[in-house]
Structure formats: C-alpha cells, structure tokens
Symmetry: C2
Subunit: 122 residues, 2 copies
DNA sequence: ATTGAAATGCAAATGATTTGCATTCTCAAG
DNA sequence: CTTGAGAATGCAAATCATTTGCATTTCAAT
C-alpha cells in the first residue's frame, strides 16, 4: 500500500489545478473528505515521492503544486496573494554554484515580493 | 521613542553579523537580555523601517539580515543549514515582470534547495 | 513633577503542521 | 476463505515559531 485512494485523489486535484493550492484548499476541494491529518500526510508522501513540490512564503500556509510544473511567484506582502510566472533564469546560476560550493542542487525557489495590483495605491 | 536601546542593540548585532541570524540567535547574543517578545517586536519594527530583511525557508525559523546586504541562499533540505552567496540575476526578470504584471516589486527571494556538503552521500 | 504615548515583560493565544496512539484497512501467505 | 502483519487513517493532543492582550514601566515633552 502506498499510493492510496486519498493520495491519488489529492494528487489529481493538484495536477488538475492551474495554480498552487494550500492544504486547506485541497482539503475543501476533495469531495470524499479525508481527515485533515491524512491530507497533510498525503502531501508529505507525494512530496517525498517527488510528485509534488511546495513553497512557503513569509507567513501563511505552504502552497503545493505538481512537479510537472515549474513556477515562480509574485508574493504580495500586504494581502498575501500569490501570482505565478514561469520564466526561469536559475540555470545560469547553477553553474556558478557548482563551481563555488560543494552543494548538490535539487531545486530552487524564486519569487518577487511587493504589492499586487489591489494593494499598491493609485 | 522609536529606535530604543534594545532595538539599536539588535540592529547592531544584525549589522555586525557576517551571516543571517534567527530571532533566537539574536536573543542569545544580546548580553542585556531583553524579553523574547521584545526581540520579536524589535525585529518587526526594524523590518518595517527597512533596516533589516528576513527570509523563511520550508521549515524552521526566519533569518534576519541587514538591508545593506544582499543575500541569496543554499538551503539544505536535510539538515536545514544555510549558506549564502551574493550573485544576483533578478534584475533581468524585473523588466519582464514590469511588462507583464501590474505588480510593484520591492524585493525578491531566491535560494537553491539541495544537500549540503555534509548531507550529500559520498 | 506631571502626563500620555510608546515600549516592555509575562503569560496565554495563535496558526500551520506534526505526532501518538487506538482503530481500520489491505493484501500476500497459509 | 481466513489470518496477520504492516500500512494508512482518524482523532485529539502536542509542537514550534511567532504574536497578542494586558498590566507595568519608561521617556520625552510640557
Ligand atoms: Mn526556476
Ligand atoms: Mn538578488
Ligand atoms: Zn495584495
Ligand atoms: Zn545538510
């Protein structure tokens, strides 16, 4: 037993979603309503299996998304809203890191902080 | 009253440090021992005044550093160790964001996830 | 010296996530 | 088919970093 009913259901929800989701959102979307702990355990399981990824910001919950996607973010420091974009320039730096640190890169996190359209005055 | 004794002391500790510090580290370094809440309130105050910045990773506490520095990180997903580097390529993307989103950038967060020298096998 | 706003200390609350433990499920072995 | 061990689940309590409420203290301006 590993990829159980709940876990598959949760993986499907995440893969279908056009944007990253929080544990709570996933819990609410799921019509068969597993226990909240089960959701968290499923998310942990799926992330360990590299089927999903997560990102956390300064405050608030983690966001989960399919490993098939590659996201970067705009994080509003006022209301917490996140938007995504995909343009990625990290590979330029991987070479630099490889040369300068004995660090085995598995992923990267990149987001802009600032004010979303609603929160910036004007 | 604004930039009080405790707050100045804490700002000095952060500015002198060669690496980002957690609230607890700052608390322990400070020889005059303010209350822990005071440390947190001071950090919040200093960050609002843009004198310091903070970053949080997937788990564990925030790290605080002087706004005079610009850091990026290598975050070990196994032991939580952080290392810093300064090479920054974000400005290339700022232009892209400006053109495509109505988002007012104030800062950015960029770090690599992976395994530090100790945690990677071999 | 008086006063009021802001800062502090202390303890309790918070929010997201994790954990312990009893119960239930699954599936391969007999 | 029965059985039993190893997962997975549900539930409640615990955790961890951080925040908050409230009583008390500090401080600068009058
Ligand atoms: Mn990228
Ligand atoms: Mn940068
Ligand atoms: Zn906003
Ligand atoms: Zn490590």
């Amino acid at each position: 037993m590993e990829l159980t009913k709940w876990r598959e259901e949760i993986l499907k929800i995440i893969e279908k979603s056009k944007k990253p989701l929080t544990a709570e959102e996933i819990y609410k979307i799921n019509k068969f309503k597993p226990n909240f702990s089960t959701v968290y355990r499923a998310l942990k399981f799926l992330e360990e299996k590299n089927l999903i990824k997560s990102i956390s910001f300064d405050k608030g919950p983690k966001y989960f998304y399919s490993s098939k996607k590659h996201y970067h973010f705009l994080y509003c420091t006022n209301c917490g809203k996140i938007e995504v974009f995909n343009k990625c320039i990290a590979s330029q730096l991987e070479n630099f890191i490889y040369k300068n640190f004995k660090f085995q890169i598995t992923d990267h996190v990149f987001y802009f902080k600032g004010l979303c359209e609603n929160c910036k005055e004007g």
